[in-house]
């Protein structure tokens, strides 16, 4: 499903005289319409495809009208490309400032999955403006936000840009009662570990297994137990889903079977009914029961499909390895597991993910392991992944524990060309590029690995660690918890040092003396670079515990697979 589907599906578009929908790709279209309208993100590649279509038409002597609608905004580079391709005069351009897609009651997505690679790998700031505009929009609807917290360079830039926009705009937010009191911005690279872990809460598991797109998922024949596939919208409207989405997978089966039994009991009531009661039953209750039955079958089918896939994949062993890495035990064993995983050609994405998890938790692989695992990966999954490894190194997800010799050589060469002052800047820039992880230190200071006496109760969890079966409290969520508790970053100095700083905390409260208590409970959590369902589940739990309500704004929903895929080089 695409964002457009959530707003205007094909039938609505057809009512407005749209003849047919095509995906913009590197392919000619065969349409007889005399008007083409392109609704696109401002990507250069897309401009080239559009130009090709227009030029093909010109060559064939077809004349049509072309309109390009850029969402959420037009980039100058796009116009330039259209100019170069000689089609700028043939198109009319518009902008559709569509920044926010609500996926659920508490989740808003900007549907910008490219944000992660563009900013964190390529160092491109093109989307920061969009984030600022999104914040401006939310602030105008639900603000003014009285307190802002954040961590990360991108968070800082987005915040500052947003403040600039607010200052420049003439909107008068004085006297309005805010509905959202606080905002917390976080860069994805503050916590890569959480994003790399296998998810075990139901919603996360469904995302990992089936890939949820724009809040909806495609369940195939193996789930529906028929020969049809079905598209399902997964949000709080689905009564069954809303009760299991945040639960640990081990609780879900039990819950669903209990529900099935209840449902059966409801159905069975009709046995003892007279005509009048039966009529009543059919008119009032049957529809609801049928609906519930349908949803239950779907989710049970999904669970069964998940179980089947996981048993096949040695899921237990993999989780054991992940937990070892998180806790810092049996590293050699974990490394062997990963090596075997690669040898067996189990899955290129999973193998990569495990290597990255090892690297981030251990502050890089030892050179011997790095070389050997890299060679084996290239042998198992293809030599072109040389490029993937380079990307992972650049972004800091998969690095080598060497004393940065290569860095120094380049540094010194470049320094010769510039003044000392600038040289210092380069060192900083390079250092930030090859960021150290320091996960173990952070984990210790924040107590991310819970000490458990006996079994960890997953049905009645006592902390956020339940989202990872009790083994690990998500770092991102823990940071948010601590800052909200302290209402500042005080006392977290050591952790901040290990996280490479870039934190901020600002109290706006311009003119608001005593902000409404209600709005103070509500925190808009902004994830720059993506947010996982596990983090959402954990923070929902935290919210219930502490009386907060979290609203999630993310550049896109993400998981480990999406992150890995973003790093792989495909055809140009």
């Amino acid at each position: 499903m695409s964002p457009l589907d959530r707003i205007a599906n094909v039938s609505i578009l057809k009512q407005h005289e749209v003849d047919k929908l095509y995906k913009v790709e590197n392919r000619p279209t065969s349409s007889t319409s005399d008007q083409f309208c392109f609704l696109v993100r401002p990507r250069i590649k897309t401009m080239k495809y559009i130009a090709d279509i227009i030029n093909a038409d010109k060559m064939a002597g077809r004349s049509r009208k072309y309109k390009i609608i850029f969402s959420p905004q037009k980039f100058y580079a796009c116009e330039m490309v259209l100019e170069e391709e000689g089609v700028f005069g043939d198109v009319s351009c518009d902008e559709w400032s569509f920044y926010l897609l609500p996926l659920d009651d508490d989740i808003i997505s900007m549907e910008l999955p490219e944000f992660f690679r563009d900013y964190f790998l390529e160092g491109d700031h093109r989307w920061i403006n969009c984030v600022a505009r999104a914040l401006q929009l939310l602030n105008s609807l639900y603000g003014p936000f009285s307190k802002a917290y954040g961590i990360g360079r991108c968070a800082k830039m987005s915040y500052e840009l947003w403040r600039d926009l607010e200052e420049e705009s003439e909107s008068d937010s004085q006297g309005r009662k805010p509905e959202i009191g606080n905002i917390f911005l976080m860069d994805r690279d503050t916590d890569y570990v959480t994003a790399l872990c296998s998810q075990v809460v139901y919603e996360g598991l469904v995302d990992d297994t089936f890939r949820i797109k724009c809040g909806s998922v495609d369940f195939g024949p193996d789930v529906t137990s028929s020969d049809k596939s079905i598209k399902v919208l997964l949000n709080s409207q689905d009564k069954v889903f809303s009760q299991i989405r945040n639960e640990h997978f081990s609780s879900v089966f039990g819950f669903l079977s209990q529900k099935s039994r209840n449902l059966q009991a409801q159905y069975d009531r009709r046995r003892g009914m007279d005509i009048k009661q039966m009529k009543n039953f059919v008119s009032q209750e049957l529809k609801g029961l049928k609906q519930e039955h349908r949803l239950l079958s779907l989710h049970i089918g999904a669970c069964e499909s998940i179980m089947k896939k996981k048993t096949k994949q040695d899921f237990q062993e993999m989780i054991k390895t992940e937990h070892s890495l998180l806790e810092g035990f049996d590293i050699r064993e974990s490394t062997s597991f990963i090596e075997e995983h690669i040898d067996r050609q189990v899955s290129p994405i999973e193998s990569l993910r495990l290597m990255c998890l090892l690297s981030i938790t251990e502050n890089g692989l030892i050179p011997k392991d790095y070389r050997s695992l890299k060679t084996q990966y290239l042998q198992s999954y293809g030599p072109e992944h040389l490029l993937t490894f380079h990307n992972l190194k650049r972004i800091g997800l998969l690095t080598e524990q060497s004393p940065g010799e290569t860095l120094t050589a380049v540094e010194s060469k470049v320094s010769k060309l510039v003044t000392d002052r600038a040289a210092g800047k380069i060192t900083d820039a390079f250092n930030s590029l090859a960021r150290k992880s320091n996960f173990r230190g952070i984990s210790k200071k924040l107590g991310l690995i819970p000490r458990v006496d006996g079994e960890y109760d997953l049905k009645m969890p006592r902390d956020m660690a339940y989202v990872f079966s009790g083994a690990y409290i998500p770092l991102s969520c823990k940071i948010i918890e601590q800052v909200l508790e302290r209402k500042s970053w005080l006392g977290l100095e050591e952790v901040l040092r290990l996280l490479n700083g870039n934190e901020f905390s600002v109290t706006e409260s311009a003119g608001e003396d005593s902000p409404a208590w209600e709005s103070q409970r509500i925190i808009l959590t902004v994830f720059l670079g993506g947010c996982t369902f596990s983090e959402i589940a954990a923070l929902r739990f935290l919210g219930k515990e502490k009386g907060y309500k979290f609203i999630f704004l993310t550049t896109a929903i993400t998981n480990s697979a999406r992150m890995m895929e973003a790093m792989i080089e495909t055809k140009a």
């Binding site: 250069i44 100058y76 580079a77 390529e122 491109d124 840009l161 040898d343 290239l378 510039v418």
Partner: protein, 408 residues
Amino acid sequence: MLTIHCGQNHLKESKRAVNSLRDIVDDDDDDLEKVSWSGDPVGSKCRSTPSYSLSDTGVKNYAPELRRPKAEYKDYSSDWSPKDTVRRMQRGKVCSLERFRSLQDKLVLLDEAVAGHDGNIITAVKILFQELEVRQVALCHLIHFLKETSEQKLLLDLLRFLDRTEEVALSQYREHLNIQDVEKRREFLKGCIGLPFSAEDTSHVQDHYTLLERQIIIEANDRHLETAGQSEIFRKYPRKASILNMPLVTTLFYSCFYHYTEAEGTFSSPTNLKKTFKIPDKQYVLTALAARAKLRAWNDVDALFTTKNWLGYTKKKAPIGFHRVVEILQRNNAPVQVLQEYVRLVEDVETQLNLATKYKCHDVVIDTYRDLKDRIQLAAYRCKVERGSAEEEKIDSILNNTQIRWKN
């Protein structure tokens, strides 16, 4: 209007002119980058006219300082191509770089300058690059932009200038993904070998080339064998896909499947692949096992693990755990007798028991419980075997054996 005057002593002025870029491109890490790469000054209200990030804004402050006597503007025209502009610059005449608004154009200008071999001009434009260099953010934007617009030549020039030689190599190597024709790709990869990769990556690229070269030969041979219809293995198991561009391990699997018995001398033999690419034993055994198991060639599987020690006794050994062997055999529906043999070789007793129970290797379970002297478990297992079977009899006879000192 941004003008650059060249000739003697103009390095300083060139530098000053280029410094006018500082206002636009300055990237203090503490400050916000005020110009987004799209060119629109961030936060500006005016969006309708596209502005050009590296020229207009702020330059006007410097223009008065650079203004020259009117005479020198006499034959000035704003319509010159990059080539002409550079030529004029070389002759010390006034020219405007305003025309070359887009960064694209500026880089084309650089190319012309380089082609003109005038060090002075190259330096002037080099300074442009230099200024960019200390502005990491702008630099990242530029590089990303060049990648997106597939300006390969300009990208490589820039990277070379920055001495990021490894990226030059990788950037060029990346192009192979766009070459569909295998012969052309092979040629291209051959050309990549000499590029400034790190030592390890050079050997990876070398391997990539060698692998593709082999695959082309194998593919041609096998296609021929298939169509000739003489080879049994190809008749029984027709190929579903070509081996071209497959990873090494997949190629090895293919080779173990279709060419297992060939001598080391041929390009398609597994042993040749192992030697050429230095495939570790572990990987080799795993792959060969998977292939032979798929063909249900249990004798071959046997031979993989059998070694003779110096006294001539045979013994089974594996560089991978035997539990993995069992798994692979089971996945390929190996008969219980074969499975059982390997389950027995699993070292860890618990794992062994689990596997044996899971795959119904009754004899192994019975023997293990007997060895562990676990009466209760053995009795419990009795209901899992078929009534009246040999296994049931075996259990009964063991349970009735008064000589065994049971632990429970």
